[in-house]
Amino acid sequence: MTARRQQLGWICLSFLLVASIACRFLVGRDAIGQWTFAWPTSDSIEWRAGALISAFLAGAALSLSGIFLQTLLRNPLASPFVLGLSAGSQACVAAAYWIAAIGGPWLLMGGAIFPATVGALLALAVTLYFGRGKGGGIDPISLVLSGVIVGTVAAALASLIEWLLPLEMRPALAGWALGRVLEVPEISVTVITAIAVFTATFMGIRNGSTLDAMGLSEDESSSIGIHVARVRLYLVLGSSVLAAVATALCGPLAFIGLIGPHMARSCVGPRHRASVLAAAISGSTLLIAADAVRHFAPASTGRLPIGVICALAGGPFFLILLRRGAAKAWMR
């Protein structure tokens, strides 16, 4: 990655971010429900800004979580959705709703961030435990398989809990489980997400070379002075919290956390000093773009669910990565 190429990458990323923001800011629906492309009315500006902020933060959080997981596991297929973190959050939040339905709503204070974090951590722990090969090393493909199964089970748990909930409480969960981008995000969740995103970006850039060194084998990174256990702990906590806040804000969105880091690396190279910030920008760009795209739907259907757009765009990307043997090409 020459300096010139990296410069070009930064320009490209900034352009895409600005373009997606502009697109989301200008797209709307007219009186008969047809999509329009025009400057918003004073009324709508606030909501479009709100949707932009929540998409910006959730996308950045997911993408940062993805890049941290990929660094932690040295696996380019890792992402909060693929490894089951999002579903884990979802299950734990559903459980919190259930407990709240019985015990009291205090558990859901702070917009479910606490149960979401617990869920993400649990899911990651289970995925790592079962994805770990016999020899102690982590086989990239079995890790992903383990994550997919953990995610499926966690999603099923979430459905089960939803099923157990009183009928009247189900809609609140159902909407969240499908993924959403709120025009008026809850202030507390937004602020916590913003803090998490900016802290993670700052720490990631600051400790860029340490994260780079995590790409070496464990013995090598230990012997060049990396406190491997400590850095891993930070990465586990960081990626879980980021996945959790994004899930609390926008629900379990697929693949943003996978594509974001790859887009970042292909633009500015693999060194974390650059790619962490680029990953945050890429994730934001992707989710904002997805939120914009879902408005381009006929009047008869209304706007499309965001979860569907993310999965439709991200699934093929994952398959292409798999086809290109990305899982094996990471470690050399």
């Binding site: 429900g33 004073s42 709508s44 025009e183």
Partner: protein, 314 residues
Amino acid sequence: MRQAMLVLLMALAMAACRPQDAATAPAHLSDQPPRIASFSPALSATVVALGWENSLVGRTPWCKSTAPIVGSLNDVDLETLARMKPNLILIQQTRSGAPAQLEQVAREKGWRIEFIPATSLDDIRHLPTAVEQAVGKPAPISPQLFAQALEKELTTCAAAQKLSPTILLYNDEPIGAFGADTYLAQAWNAMGGTLAFSKSGNPNLSMEELFATQPKSIIVIVGAVGDKAHAQSHDVLGDACAKRGVSLLALYAPQLLLPGPEFTTGLSLFRAEIQKFCVAQAQTQAQAIQAPATTQVGALEVTADNISQGANKP
């Protein structure tokens, strides 16, 4: 840092918009023509039936109307909703209330949110009145008419008695039943029928559970055209019923699946169909056992009576 700037700009934009919104004071609804956004197909149908078709300015993708779609409770399209300038938002009553962001915006904009229950038969009885009350104006079409029409369909029906105890299904694969506390079961009771089981809600039943209750008949209410053929030719359920001498009746009546004003129409159709079914059943029985003609004539008379009663449309 560019991102930080953008977020800051957005925050500023938000702040700039706030005072303007606060200035629009919540107006008194009765002074203005109603502008209703409904987040429930049943409530949308009620609004239309009451003659406020032109006042319905927002609906879900599942409501039958030409009004713009303003999303669903899962994903409220605030912008479209605001563009339609509603002054009343109707939501089918839930304990969890409205989505937080809708509630917040409604408060700021002075939109009134009304929760109207639509679960039991009583809810359906009061639905038009409740919507009229929520709007706060006399409806173009009197809600009383709906209540009267509904009461007509809730009179005792010989066929219902004959088919009882029964199980009412809204789905045959997997088997989903109307529980004892649902509007259709309550209507069935009002028609003189009984239910073969006492579960509440909308339980999913296994084949075993279904027949363990020893129903005399099973009635499948089909809601989509594609389902109709499916339910009628559903061999597994059909065979099981035939083997146990249980009458199986599949009925295409989507109106019965929506606890709205069209329920009355559906009920009328339902009555007609079960009576027809009973007549046909009696005829095949008569042919099969070659019984004396007098009893059959009596049965036919009773059914014919009920058919004419059932055909009385509001």
